[in-house]
Amino acid sequence: MSDSTLGQPVQKRNVRLQMLAEFWHYFSQNKGAVVGLAILILLVLVAVFAPLLAPHNPIEQYRDMFLTPPFWQEGGTLSFPLGTDAVGRDILSRLIYGSRYSLAIGLIVVSIALLLGITLGLLAGFFRGWVDVAIMRVMDVILAFPPLLLALVLVAVLGPGLFNAMIAIALVLQPHFARLTRAAVMAEAKREYVVSARVAGARNVRLMFKTILPNCLAPLIVQATLSFSNAILEAAALGFLGMGAQPPTPEWGTMLAEAREFILRAWWVVTFPGLAILITVLAINLVGDGLRDALDPKLKRS
């Protein structure tokens, strides 16, 4: 599709626009996906404008305001709309800043996993032979471990912290991309347009990245969306287990870890960060379902 022979750029742009319109037509038929997209856009805006939206500094401790309930409960105040945590920090402000972490985690993890997975999958599917065997056996080994366990052990090796947690999660998620890419490349490599490009003198690198890869993108985009939400969940889980972002970072999973001992006394310190994770992940998964419907005609029936 992308490796078309259309000469004029104008014509190419029209084709692109048409494809986009067609994509939106299918995507917008799934109402859940549109709602998910709207929530996601809202979240991005919140993350970008966090300093303007947050009523307080997310790590400032108000010493006379420990465990203040939300404003609608007795003892609550509107200056801390969702209450404060055990050391007097404003929960709403922490949640607003936390959206930056979650979205950044998703974006960075998926980028690393995509880059690694696509490269390995392209190499395996394109060259076959021992390269293929070596790469795919390593992927099998990674997939043999429960993902969270492997990420935990990797973080234990690298040292706890958000950056190391992201690297660990990316390493755990990338075999899915490698497998998908390999399968797609093997299916595409036999097609005539690839053979003709090769006959025309295209080198391996060009064949891999410019000729074949653009035609394997649909399943990769769907998988990337799924991995985006997985990455956020896993990073939050690592934070919850004390191996991800470290306090006082307002990362949602880390907030939950700090809130654990107060669950029976102050429901709000536990409820809101988890709700934020759930809404974010749900929105991304809704978009993922819509993307799958729009991009992958084989799965459209389900």
Binding site: G32, R137, V138, D140, V141, A144, F145, P146, P147, L148, L149, L152, V153, A156, V157, G159, S229, L233, A236, A237, F240, L241, G242, M243, G253, L256, R260, I263, L264, W267, V270, T271, P273, G274, I277, L278, V281, L282, I284, N285, L286, D289, L299, R301, S302
Partner: protein, 335 residues
């Protein structure tokens, strides 16, 4: 069938070797000197250092050390825990029934709710029931289960006071472990109220651990069912005048179950990951909590051994699922 079994077994060998390399390499890439890490808190002098170096075999070539390690694994030697001084394999065997009981209970819940929900959704496609079920399923699929567990504790233990917060059974009961499954042991003990206590401890963790598999199974059953309902043989069955129930229950369901069984098998690895979080929240004394405690205690022999054992377990379950798959679906077997 034998050839099918053999080819599957053959595929497992390189993966298992890879797993042992990961577990073996793990301790070696840790920051810090392995001898200092393994030696504990006692004082260290050059003589003792040399002695320990020799005792742990670190003065030999790395390849020899690796083969020595694998040789030990094959003979059930998974190392000794630093904190309890117990063999890692023994600890694993002691704790495994707790995780197995929880996982089986969770999987049971996920299957008996997920499959009927998926079938009904497919049959009533587009109805309010279908939309609600799929909405709930996607929410379950997106759930941070560690938070979900905390919420259930707030509601059922805190506000309603129905269930205990943690552990496997009330401290009032004591009886010898026969099967390692608390619910069965409590029945065998004949103590009054013991079974109810065990069950009330089991229910919340099971719900939490079941959440994601339940959502996945419901979604997968629905889409497999929809696919099958569009096939020619279903139309033929209808045309023959078979009842709606028989077409759905026999002709469609049996074929739709094939991908669902694969999905269920794939959930085992997820279940182990879920067990780490669930057991941490509910202080459930299983291998998930054992692993996370060992990681934070830096008890590396346990982490190392646990990694191999858990990966081997997941691989074994996947093998069984693959074989079952071949058994119920001759098309795969004869490829």
């Amino acid at each position: 069938m034998l050839r099918f079994l053999f080819s599957k077994l053959l595929l497992i060998v390189p993966t298992f070797i890879g797993i042992t390399i990961v577990a073996f390499g793990f301790v070696r890439v840790l920051p810090g000197d392995p001898v200092l890490l393994l030696a504990g808190e006692r004082g260290m002098n050059p003589d003792r250092y040399q002695a320990l170096l020799h005792q742990f075999g670190y003065d030999r070539p790395i390849v020899v050390q690796y083969f020595d390690y694998v040789w030990g694994l094959l003979h059930g030697d998974f190392g000794i825990s630093i904190s309890t001084k117990q063999p890692v394999f023994q600890e694993f065997l002691n704790l495994f029934p707790a995780t197995a009981e929880l996982a089986i209970c969770a999987m049971f819940l996920a299957i008996i709710i997920g499959i009927p929900a998926g079938i009904l959704s497919a049959v009533k496609r587009g109805s309010i029931f279908d939309q609600a079920t799929m909405g709930i399923a996607l929410t379950g699929y997106s759930m941070p289960i560690f938070w979900w567990g905390l919420l259930l504790i707030i509601l059922f233990s805190g506000i309603l006071g129905w269930t205990p917060v943690s552990g496997r059974i009330s401290l009032f009961y004591y009886f010898p472990s026969v099967t390692g499954f608390m619910t069965i042991d409590s029945l065998l003990s004949g103590e009054k109220g013991a079974f109810t206590s065990a069950l009330s401890h089991l229910i919340l963790p099971s719900i939490v651990l079941a959440t994601i598999p339940l959502a996945v199974i419901a979604r997968q059953t629905r889409s497999a069912m929809l696919e099958v309902l569009g096939e020619d043989y279903v139309r033929t069955a209808r045309a023959k005048g078979l009842s709606h129930k028989r077409v759905i229950g026999v002709h469609a369901l049996r074929n739709a179950m094939i991908p669902v069984i694969t999905t269920i098998g794939l959930q085992i690895g997820m279940l182990m990951a879920g067990a780490i979080l669930t057991e941490t929240i509910f202080s459930w004394p299983g291998i998930g909590k054992w692993m996370i405690d060992s990681i934070s205690r830096r008890d590396y022999p346990v982490v190392q051994g646990g990694l191999v054992l858990i990966a081997a377990l997941v691989m074994f379950v996947n093998l069984v699922v693959d074989l079952l798959y071949g058994l119920i679906n001759p098309r795969i077997r004869h490829q």
